[in-house]
């Protein structure tokens, strides 16, 4: 089921098989480094080379370049950990769960996908009835709102699933405080109490979702709520987690039923399909068979198979009209899934008018 477009791509080939780095020519290195920088994956290549013990065999120029990315990923993760420490001081210790999401959760759990990863924001989640309380705590402890303009502030509060981003002026980490993992306007709206109840204790008094829920969150974020284009890094993190958590058969047993319970089956279908197609992920046949019943109709499947591999990396695939159609097709799709049509039209036109007036 491998895809011919992604199969040719040097970055994807090396991510799948880091040993290839031992025998690359000059032109291949330049192409690989260019793509890796654009996809924010240069640090990952360095970590992979280190992990399989071939770093010293690489050209000295490459070792020198990798050294820079090693410092970047280490420092970004150090900053996230420090910010967690500050958040803990401001927020944790009350009688409610503060749940680390995305990169912060991966860092707290020291997952494989944090290897060489650049993390720039901190995402946390509290239950909706605690969101005002949490915001008040942050503001009292010196964090400030990053978004000043009234429309954006109002939009966040009424329709989004998170507070407007908070930033402490001494540190440049943006914190997103969520009460849900999807916008309240989204087509699929999960029962958040199910996710919060299943959350497990982690470092420093924080919680994380259960392993299955961590994966499903990443999956809905990319395939339901987010943009598919230029998201190779997110696809890779899903691939990593399927491989890492998947060593335990119980993970696979729980995955599809949990997706059914939360309403995430379509997103999970895409994640499993494209991880396998593009990254060659090991997924048990029974899981693939089980998720197949949630596939979209044939036409949509053909469209997605045509669009996704061509835009998953910013440098991939076709050029010209077909690329434009793929990129914009997936952009409109992501917004379509986020909010009802009338609201979408109103939102996009308001943003456009603000841009024309130079307010945004």
């Amino acid at each position: 089921m491998a895809n011919p477009i992604t199969e040719r791509n040097i970055l994807i080939r090396v991510l799948k098989n880091p040993n290839l780095m031992e025998n690359l020519g000059v032109g291949e290195w330049n192409e690989l480094l260019r793509e890796a920088k654009i996809s924010n994956l240069a640090g990952r290549l360095s970590a992979d080379a280190e992990h399989i013990g071939i770093k010293e065999k690489l050209p000295l120029k490459v070792q020198n370049i990798f050294k820079s990315y090693d410092y970047s990923s280490r420092s970004s993760q150090r900053m996230i950990r420090w910010e967690m420490n500050r958040v803990k001081r401001a927020l944790v210790g009350e009688d409610y769960k503060v749940i680390l999401l995305k990169g912060a959760a991966y860092i707290a759990k020291e997952l494989k996908c944090t290897r060489g990863r650049l993390s720039v924001d901190l995402d946390i989640l509290v239950e909706k009835n605690k969101i005002d309380f949490a915001e008040d705590k942050f503001l009292r402890h010196g964090w400030e709102h990053h978004v000043e303009n009234d429309y954006d502030q109002k939009f966040y509060r009424e329709y989004s699933h998170e507070l407007p981003p908070l930033v402490h002026p001494d540190r440049q980490i943006s914190i997103d405080v969520h009460h849900s993992i999807l916008p309240v306007t989204s087509r699929v709206y999960p029962d958040m109490t199910k996710l919060v109840d299943a959350a497990v204790p982690s470092v420093g008094g924080f919680y994380t979702f259960s392993n299955v829920d961590i994966v499903l969150h990443s999956v809905v974020h990319l395939w339901q709520d987010g943009e598919v284009r230029s998201s190779l890094r997110n696809l890779l993190e899903q691939h990593d987690m399927f491989e890492e958590f998947g060593k335990d058969q119980k993970f696979w047993d729980a995955l599809v039923p949990r997706a059914v319970e939360l309403g995430f089956t379509r997103a999970l279908y895409y994640a499993l399909r494209y991880c396998k197609m593009i990254m060659g992920t090991n997924i048990p046949a029974r899981v693939m068979k089980n998720i197949d019943q949630y596939a979209p109709n044939g036409l949509i499947r053909i469209l997605m198979d045509w669009m996704v591999p061509g835009v998953i990396s910013p440098t991939l695939g076709s050029t010209g009209l077909s690329r434009w159609l793929s990129m914009n097709g997936l952009y409109i799709r992501s917004h379509w899934l986020r909010m009802p049509p009338f609201m979408l039209a109103k939102h996009l036109s308001t943003k456009m008018i603000m841009r024309i007036k130079g307010e945004a």
Binding site: V26, N30, P59, K61, N64, I65, Y71, S72, S75
Partner: protein, 320 residues
């Protein structure tokens, strides 16, 4: 030249202007500046001409090598290429620059190169400082923009010092040596006539060392100056840092050398370092060692001539 890898064994080429122009407009010219190699592609003839004027003495690789970066300046479409030419900059890092008119393309190029180093260089400890070297003396002059450090570093380089950089001082964290990165010197506003006059005092055809003056850029009038041939040829010669001078330009002052504590010098050097926080503990140790082993002072000066005399005086005191 230090051989970096099997890919770097190929000869550096001495291209003539015409060959360089062809390279720049096709596959790119592989320019080496100190520890970095960048592939430069320029679609506009006027930018190539300015580039060649400044960089013609630099080493260029003939056979393909692994690049640290690439920079590509182009017109986005027919209208932006020929009708109202505008220089778009691609630095391969997912960043978008506000395009400038193509007539200011050299400014876009230099800013793009600055941005690449400022944002992505963590393998060397970086100081926002003028750095020069002579006879085993490695001199760091950390300072904020507008303190005259660029002019001072450039001024010293046209009086026998080797220019490492007028604003990106680099330190190798393992050998603790200063790594030269002699880019074109960026002169702004009042410093332009000062430097033109300065170079004219010691060099014939002094205008050959400068680009045209670009007026109305986001930073006012900008002019680029070529480093001395000696500085370009010495771009792989590293020096241990042993003097730190904090320069203060004040037109109303009396020239003066002021003592400062090592603690103050330490903090000012840390503050000048753009990637200190990213490098972390290694950076702390490197700057601690650097300051432990360096003589430090502050100089206040009203003119470039005074500044150069004060620097020479302070450096000479240590040797005599």
């Amino acid at each position: 030249m230090k051989v970096l890898s099997k890919f770097h064994k190929n000869k550096l080429a001495a291209f003539d202007d015409e060959e360089l122009d062809t390279k720049l407009s096709t596959s790119g010219a592989q320019l080496e500046i100190g520890p970095f190699t960048v592939n430069v592609k320029l679609e506009f003839k006027n930018i190539r001409d300015e580039f060649i004027k400044i960089y013609r003495e630099y080493p260029f690789y003939n056979d393909p090598v692994i690049h640290d970066n690439y920079i590509h300046i182009y017109g986005r479409n027919f209208y932006r290429k020929y009708m109202r030419p505008q220089a778009f900059v691609d630095v391969g890092m997912n960043e978008e620059f506000i395009p400038l008119p193509a007539s200011m393309g050299m400014v876009s190029l230099e800013m793009g190169l600055n941005w690449q180093v400022a944002s992505a260089c963590k393998q060397y400890l970086m100081f926002h400082a003028g750095v020069v070297a002579k006879d085993g003396v490695g001199l760091i002059m950390p300072a904020a923009s507008g303190s005259g450090k660029s002019t001072l570093a450039a001024g010293l380089s046209y009086r026998g010092w080797q220019l490492h950089s007028d604003e990106f001082g680099l330190l190798d964290l393992e050998s603790e040596e200063l790594v030269p990165y002699p880019r074109a010197v960026s002169l702004k506003n009042e410093s332009i006539p000062v430097m033109k006059n300065w170079v004219a005092q010691s060099h014939e055809n002094h205008l050959d060392y400068f680009t045209e003056e670009f007026e109305g850029t986001p930073k006012g009038t900008i002019c680029y100056m070529r480093p001395t041939t000696q500085s370009i040829n010495a771009m792989h010669e590293r020096t241990k840092p042993n003097i730190v001078i904090l320069p203060i330009f004040d037109p109303a002052s009396k020239p003066e050398i002021r003592p400062i504590t090592k603690t103050m010098a330490f903090f000012r050097t840390v503050m000048s370092s753009a990637n200190y926080g990213d490098i972390g503990a290694d950076a702390f140790h490197a700057i601690s060692n650097l300051i432990d082993n360096a003589r430090v002072c502050e100089i206040v000066y009203p003119t470039l001539d005074d500044a150069v005399k004060l620097v020479e005086e302070f450096v000479g005191d240590g040797n005599g």
